[in-house]
């Protein structure tokens, strides 16, 4: 279908954008457009105002600090996919990016757009959760920081107040030699995942798990960390029994039920995806990295 009528604003600076946003609290921000435009064309979104932030140069970029990678909210997914910094320091993101949509949607799709749209099965929120990312959120009066764990407020709902905009995301980096894996199952390549799992792991010199993060998408209305499994695995030898037990903790979750897949299917799929992600991440981990 065709989009409904709205007013279009194109600020050229961050300050101007935040000023517009505070004057029009119900406006929608247009980043890469790969979620908002379908919602407009489907007429499930009816904003009076759309604020296009594509011309604000300082909202995009990838930078390394001593212990983190900081990514501007308008950084395109394709730029992340091709970035040597991401490949070296955030291999989990590199693997996840290749599974987002298609080559032709990653060219415009942005990291900030994906985090704020917060589709339950989107890849980047899962990566941000696994990494305990920090989100920088600004309004006309100033800035605040939010942990990714506190960002999802419900289905497709980020914790953003009126007038606020996500401007950058900081990903703390894990030690060199850590293992990672992003595994998802979708019915067709490029579709939203039915279940997705991102794992980060570090091993002790004696082969036990020193540190682990397991994040899940697609299973519940918001992405979440599988903390029960993380607790169960920390300090343990990662043998088959341990992995099977960890994967089984997904059965505590009340799965999403939608036209893409019934809850019963997600319940059966989840442990398989988690086990696969754990095994792959462990395989890629060097001993004694921690």
């Amino acid at each position: 279908m065709k989009a409904p009528t709205f007013r279009y604003h194109r600020p050229s600076s961050r300050t101007e954008a935040l000023k517009l946003l505070s004057a029009m609290p119900s406006a929608r921000i247009l980043a890469g457009g790969q979620s908002l435009l379908p919602m407009l064309n489907f007429r499930v979104a009816f904003p009076d105002d759309v604020i296009d932030i594509n011309r604000i140069a300082d909202l995009a970029g990838i930078e390394a600090t001593s212990d983190a990678i900081v990514i501007g909210a308008m950084t395109r997914q394709r730029a992340l996919e091709k970035s040597p910094l991401i490949a070296t320091h955030l291999p989990l993101m590199a693997e996840a990016i290749a599974q987002i949509g298609h080559y032709a949607t990653r060219g415009r799709g942005t990291i900030g757009g994906s985090l704020c749209h917060l589709d339950p099965a989107a890849e980047l929120p899962v990566v941000a959760l696994a990494h305990d990312a920090t989100l920088r959120i600004e309004n006309a009066a100033g800035a605040r920081e939010v942990a990714m764990a506190d960002f999802p407020a419900g289905l497709l709902t980020p914790s953003l107040a009126e007038g606020e905009m996500l401007t950058a995301i900081e990903f703390p980096v894990w030690r060199p030699g850590h293992g990672s894996a992003f595994v998802e199952f979708a019915r067709r390549h490029g579709d939203f995942a039915i279940v997705a799992c991102g794992v980060l792991v570090e091993l002790s010199p004696n082969g036990t798990i020193a540190r682990i993060a397991i994040a899940i998408g697609g299973l519940a209305p918001t992405p979440f960390r599988l903390t029960a499994a993380e607790k169960l695995l920390t300090g343990r030898q990662p043998d088959t029994t341990a992995l099977v037990e960890a994967a089984r903790t997904t059965q505590e979750i009340d799965p999403l039920d939608d036209p893409q897949a019934p809850a019963s299917y997600r319940r059966r799929l989840a442990p398989a995806i988690v086990r696969r992600a754990l095994a792959t991440a462990l395989e890629r981990c060097s001993l004694g990295a921690a």
Binding site: M1, K2, A3, P4, T5, F6, R7, Y8, R10, L30, G33, Q34, L37, P38, L40, N41, F42, D48, V50, D52, N54, R76, R78, G101, H102, Y103, A104, T105, G107, R108, R188, H189, G190
Partner: protein, 163 residues
């Protein structure tokens, strides 16, 4: 609610063009209805089929997922710009020779996707091409000849056949 029309000046295939559109008009419709460039096709209008794929400022783009107003000042490339007069682009030539199309509805989007990709990676293998084209639905061909044609065209372009 009323929304005034926005003036849009851009280049399409190197030619400066001007027009005006409501904010809600997407770039695909602007190209087709206002600039009469109907080579860009519209299938789904929500980013799934790839028929509307074009190149905007060097970036492969779903023109149904971009507002015409956003293209103000942009350099747009569409299927109409591929051939040089009567001389087909190597991709077009290879698709013709290898039967890479049947009804042709998907073809403009596929050729523009490939044009953008081959600039980044001139020597892709078949598996990579299948991944690149996973966002372009073709209901006719079964993709075999599309991939063969794309590999063929990539080889010709590497040999320096004018691209």
């Amino acid at each position: 609610m009323t929304a005034s029309r926005i003036d849009i000046a851009l280049t399409v295939n190197g030619v400066p063009c001007k027009g005006a559109a409501e904010p809600r008009t997407n770039l695909a419709d602007f190209l087709r209805h206002d600039l009469a460039l109907t080579g860009t096709h519209v299938g789904c209008e929500h980013g799934s089929c790839g028929a509307c794929t074009i190149i905007v400022d060097g970036v492969v783009t779903r023109s149904c997922l971009m507002l015409a107003a956003q293209a103000d000042g942009a350099a747009v490339e569409t299927i109409e710009g591929l051939s040089q007069g009567d001389k087909l682009h190597p991709l077009q030539q290879a698709f013709w020779e290898r039967h890479g199309l049947q009804c042709g509805f998907c073809t403009p989007g596929i050729l523009m996707t490939l044009t953008a990709y081959l600039r980044e990676d001139p020597s892709p293998d078949a598996e990579t091409l299948r991944d690149v084209l996973s966002g372009n639905l073709c209901r006719c061909t079964g993709y075999q000849n599309i991939v063969t044609a794309a590999l063929d065209a990539a080889a010709r372009m590497r040999e320096g056949v004018a691209a």
